[in-house]
């Protein structure tokens, strides 16, 4: 790639131009729409486990199937929660890769970037 850190005649480097381009904002928006809700959801879902086990042990000891209680089932569900979020993220990631590839191609030919100069 060309020397990206050198500013051009407008005093802007490739990085600055990409950072303000429509494509890059699109990438960041696409990422945020998935990552922020996914992160908040998993944090809440995970910390419910120690909080409930710690502060409501009687409730978590309710037997659901044979000797299997809520505490164990909720703990087990965490594994599937993690796998499902990971699976969804990989799917969403294909979009990130597609937009990123587009940005890299255009960054090497800066005149193609839709800036807001």
């Amino acid at each position: 790639m060309p020397d990206a850190s050198k500013p051009d005649q407008n005093g802007q480097s490739i990085w600055d131009r990409v950072a303000v381009s429509e494509e890059f904002r699109d990438l960041m928006a696409t990422k945020k729409i998935f990552i922020i809700p996914a992160f908040l959801f998993f944090i809440v879902y995970y910390f419910l486990l120690p909080i409930l086990v710690g502060y409501a042990p009687q409730f978590m000891s309710i037997k659901v199937w044979g000797n299997v209680n809520l505490a164990y089932l909720f703990a087990l569900s965490q594994f599937f929660m993690a796998w499902i979020i990971a699976g969804l993220y990989v799917k969403a990631g294909d979009d990130f890769d597609r937009i990123s590839k587009d940005i890299i191609e255009k960054a090497l030919k800066p005149e193609l970037l839709k800036g807001d100069k």
Partner: protein, 535 residues
């Protein structure tokens, strides 16, 4: 020769063969430190799982569940869910922005020397503490397994130490990666076999299995006790139990994404996409493994029993003793060999991350301001420091002895990773205003807070009865000042606070200037390190 010894020797022979193969292939820094960035996603995923599933997971968790039931399973849950932080927040930006170490990302737009010096200190702290815990465990385990063969604790520690030095010094990251892969496959296979045998014992009836967990019988202070091991609360009791659980959860969820030996694995793959896929591979393996700890732990509790395990080597022997009870001596030997492979692979992973950080961060960038004086100097320094790190770990493990109370060192590693490393990595990637003072303050406060709180917590401060002697005694014989074993609940917010206050109190325009560059590079991979060489 005993069966375990034969299986150890087979594993050692195979891994040394790989090391020889890798040493013929690796030349140049990128090959030595990052396996030429040519590792495939499934390979790296398996290797991440291998680096992560330590003896503390395999032997430790089986033991905690066997002795304290459900509460032990909480570790299993946290250790998997933690990978969502790695996946969603850390893996891809790190791969895109860095080169060999965690500090690369921090130094990207901050003043490199102070930031790298502290990051190297934090990496070395996490790695050596974790390594010493593993070495003491390895020595005690091998000595117990090979009882009667003339190999004692000291010889076992020296053997493990020398092997890890050989892997790292001669084979670099490529050999270390393949050692992890073989170990992870062995560990999964052994755990799967053991779980199947446990279920066979209960006639493949989950009802019968969970029914048996409902009334586990053992002796406590001479009294016969019957407990439902699926009930929470056997380990974490009031008043501080609930807080301890939350604090543990915080340390696991935020600590995993700050463990240097896990982070360096993402530099071994060609791009961010492969890094993402490798985390998912790792999560598939790690999750399956930790679900199976249900069978290992509860199986040991119901089939072998606390009383028997307690008198035959203690909690850590739960999984091997379960294997012996279910399928006899040869299977016992196989499970022991897997435990040995597990420890060896993890210490090798820790050694390479510690020596890489010393050579790349401290030697090249802090002392020599970013230039190699001779080509190949960085790799040579890394090899020498791998040797030194190994020698130090061997010496400390021998001085501490097999009965040393070292379990807290693993908690410490996670606490430092979560309180010192994670806040500054996250802030440097996501916060435009973040600066050098903030990074230095965050790293320093996180390190001091986690070490300090463990020092005054119940792991090191307690009043032992006179029957406890030598290095098994608590360091400080007084009531603990801080009530929790895991300081995360306090030290993680302190780490973030240090980083944020340090930033807000100072002004550093250059760090903000380069933020666009880091932002674009870490999110798109524009200008990221390319894969080199081929194998």
């Amino acid at each position: 020769m005993s069966a375990p010894l034969v299986m150890f020797l087979v594993f050692i022979a195979i891994t040394l063969g790989i090391t020889y193969w890798a040493s013929k292939r690796s030349s140049g820094s990128s090959a030595y430190f990052a396996a030429g960035r040519q590792i495939k996603s499934w390979q790296n995923g398996v290797a991440v799982a291998g680096d992560y599933m330590s003896a503390a997971s395999f032997l430790g968790i089986a033991g905690i569940i066997a002795f304290q039931g459900y509460d032990g399973f909480m570790f299993s849950v946290g250790w998997l869910v933690a990978y969502l932080t790695v996946l969603l927040v850390i893996a891809e930006p790190l791969r895109n922005a860095g080169k060999y170490t965690m500090a690369d990302v921090l130094a990207y737009r901050l003043k490199p020397r102070p930031v790298r010096a502290l990051a190297a200190l934090s990496t070395l702290t996490v790695s050596t503490f974790y390594m010493i815990a593993q070495m003491v465990g390895a020595g005690a385990l091998v000595a117990l397994l090979l009882k009667g063969s003339g190999i004692g604790y000291n010889q076992a520690v020296i053997g493990v130490g020398l092997l890890m030095i050989v892997y790292v010094v001669f084979g670099g990251m490529l050999a270390t990666t393949w050692v992890q892969i073989i170990k992870a496959i062995l560990l999964m296979a052994g755990t799967f076999l053991l779980s199947t045998l446990v279920m066979a014992h209960f006639h493949f009836s989950f009802g019968e299995f969970f029914g048996a967990i409902g009334h586990v019988t053992y002796h406590d202070k001479g009294q016969e006790v019957v407990k439902d091991f699926l009930q929470p609360g056997l380990r974490y009791k009031p008043p501080y139990g609930p807080l301890e659980l939350i604090s543990l959860g915080l340390a696991l969820i935020f600590g995993t994404a700050g463990l240097p030996h896990i982070l360096v694995r993402f530099y071994t793959v060609p791009d961010a996409k492969t890094a993402r896929h490798s985390v998912v591979w790792a999560m598939a393996l790690i999750g399956t493994f930790y679900i199976m700890t249900t069978f290992l732990g509860f199986g040991a509790a119901t089939i072998v029993g606390r009383d028997f395990i307690g008198s035959h080597g203690g909690t850590n022997m739960s999984a091997p003793l379960l294997a012996q009870a279910l399928a006899g001596d040869i299977f016992f030997a196989f499970i022991c060999a897997i435990a040995f492979a597990t420890i060896l692979a993890v210490v090798a992973g820790l050694t390479i991350s510690a020596s890489t950080s010393f050579a790349h961060d401290f030697w090249t960038n802090v002392i020599h301001r970013g230039t190699e004086r001779k080509p190949g100097e960085e790799v040579r320094v890394a090899r020498i420091s791998a040797f030194v790190v190994g020698a130090i770990a061997i010496t400390i493990a021998i001085l501490l002895g097999p009965t040393a109370n070292v379990a807290f060192l693993v908690a410490l590693a996670f606490a430092v990773a979560a309180s010192a490393n994670l806040p500054v990595i996250v802030l440097s990637i996501f916060w435009r205003r973040f600066n050098t003072t903030g990074a230095v303050a965050g790293l320093a406060v996180g390190l001091i807070a986690s070490i300090g709180l463990i020092l005054i917590g119940p792991s090191l401060m307690a009043v032992d009865p006179p029957t406890v002697t030598g290095s098994a005694r608590h360091l400080i014989q007084a009531k603990a000042w801080f009530p929790l074993e895991n300081p995360g609940i306090l030290s993680i917010p302190l780490g973030f606070l240090g980083a944020i206050l340090g930033t807000l109190l100072t002004n550093e325009p250059t760090s903000t200037h380069k933020f666009n560059e880091l932002l674009v590079r870490s999110n798109t991979g524009l200008g990221a390190e390319k894969a080199t060489g081929s194998h």
